[in-house]
Symmetry: C2
Subunit: 226 residues, 2 copies
């Protein structure tokens, strides 16, 4: 049927997941790897490999960097991330790196089998329990993080927002001036106002604050061209 590889440094968990697969997907060949290096070596030998279940947190592959390395070494090999980590951004980063699925370690057995089925069938699996939470990306965050920056963004005038949009692209004042067809001194005036309103003391910090907030949304909300 299929050939899977479980890459996890914790033997107990490796056994547990292997057992679950044997029970739920009978007929599968199962390989095991205790480290990323191990997994990479085995992936070279086995050309019949259909899927890798990769744990984030392998000792020789800190977090998503490990996934990145595996993807680079074997770009055509489908990888599902299996992890205790449940952050939305982590999940999205994993998918962005080319993972074909993300399975939290807390996933109940039947759901896990269904997820693997889905992935082996050529689909992409994301955990509904996390990805379908209502409030989207700005959920259980500290109330004085994103929200306040966002509100400060709203106090900016249109021109200031346009200037800020260029700042976050890395443009210098002189370039911004040329693009918006105003004098550099005027750009400076706007920049000063932006720094004051954002309550920061340098251009870099303004940029950091801006892309923590949803600048793109603010721009389109006011029908401003970027």
């Amino acid at each position: 049927m299929h050939t899977l590889m479980v890459a996890d440094d914790h033997p107990l968990f490796r056994e547990a997941i292997a057992a679950a697969i044997r029970a739920g997907l009978p007929g599968c060949r199962l390989l095991e790897a205790a480290s990323l290096g191990d997994a990479l070596a085995r992936a070279d030998d086995e050309e019949a490999l259909d899927l890798v279940l990769l744990d984030l947190g392998l000792p020789d592959a800190e977090g998503l960097a490990g996934l990145s390395r595996l993807r680079e070494a074997c770009p055509t090999l489908p990888v599902v991330v299996v992890s205790a980590e449940q952050e939305r951004t982590t999940i999205l980063d994993a998918i962005a790196l080319g993972a074909v699925g993300y399975i939290p370690k807390s996933t109940p057995r039947p759901d896990l089998i269904a997820a693997l089925d889905q992935v082996l069938g050529g689909q992409v699996y994301l955990p509904p329990s996390i990805m379908r939470r209502a409030p989207g990306p700005h959920a259980a965050e500290p109330p004085n993080g994103r929200a306040s920056v966002d509100s400060r963004l709203e106090t900016l005038t249109d021109k200031q927002l346009q200037v800020l949009a260029r700042m976050v692209r890395g443009d210098a004042n002189k370039v911004i001036a040329r693009e918006l067809d105003i004098a550099e001194t005027t750009v400076k005036t706007h920049v000063s106002a932006i720094l004051r309103k954002l309550e920061v003391s340098s251009r870099v910090q303004a940029i950091l604050a801006a892309d923590q907030a949803d600048l793109a949304a603010q721009l389109s909300r006011r029908q401003l061209r970027a």
Copy 2:
């Protein structure tokens, strides 16, 4: 059964997708909206709404900003994006904004119905044809995108990386000097080297390049404290 709303400004496409749904998911109630404003108004009336099929490219909601607004207005309302756009990053952005699925307009009818089924069943749907392409995020992109920035990061020395880590936090040279307990002139030397190696011409651009690449991974790979 379920109540769906199709939000698309193109009447022909709206009809086509409505017909497909009626055929594939008999018993569904179907609402239609020709604009984002329209959709928002109808979503307020209907409390029984199960899913919105949102087109990107509505005249009053440019691209993902429209999704953002809809999500803000109705955070608990599941939204599937339906679009001609097929960029991986667009898809991931949509999911990051809280969409529960992404269906390219080129999706064949049976697959579309299956996708809607999956979403109505509480899952998350991503188009396999795009998301499971082999080479991951740096595929058909210009070869000098993320990969090259990443490799340039590797040419940085440890100290340079430590300095860069402070730069991306918005620290000034003086602050970095204090933190690393070296002279400000030395920090400048490092910064200059960083700019040269990253092939950029300003601090801001260096920062933008750095957090496009995986700086965190690089730091932990060398066991450096941030």
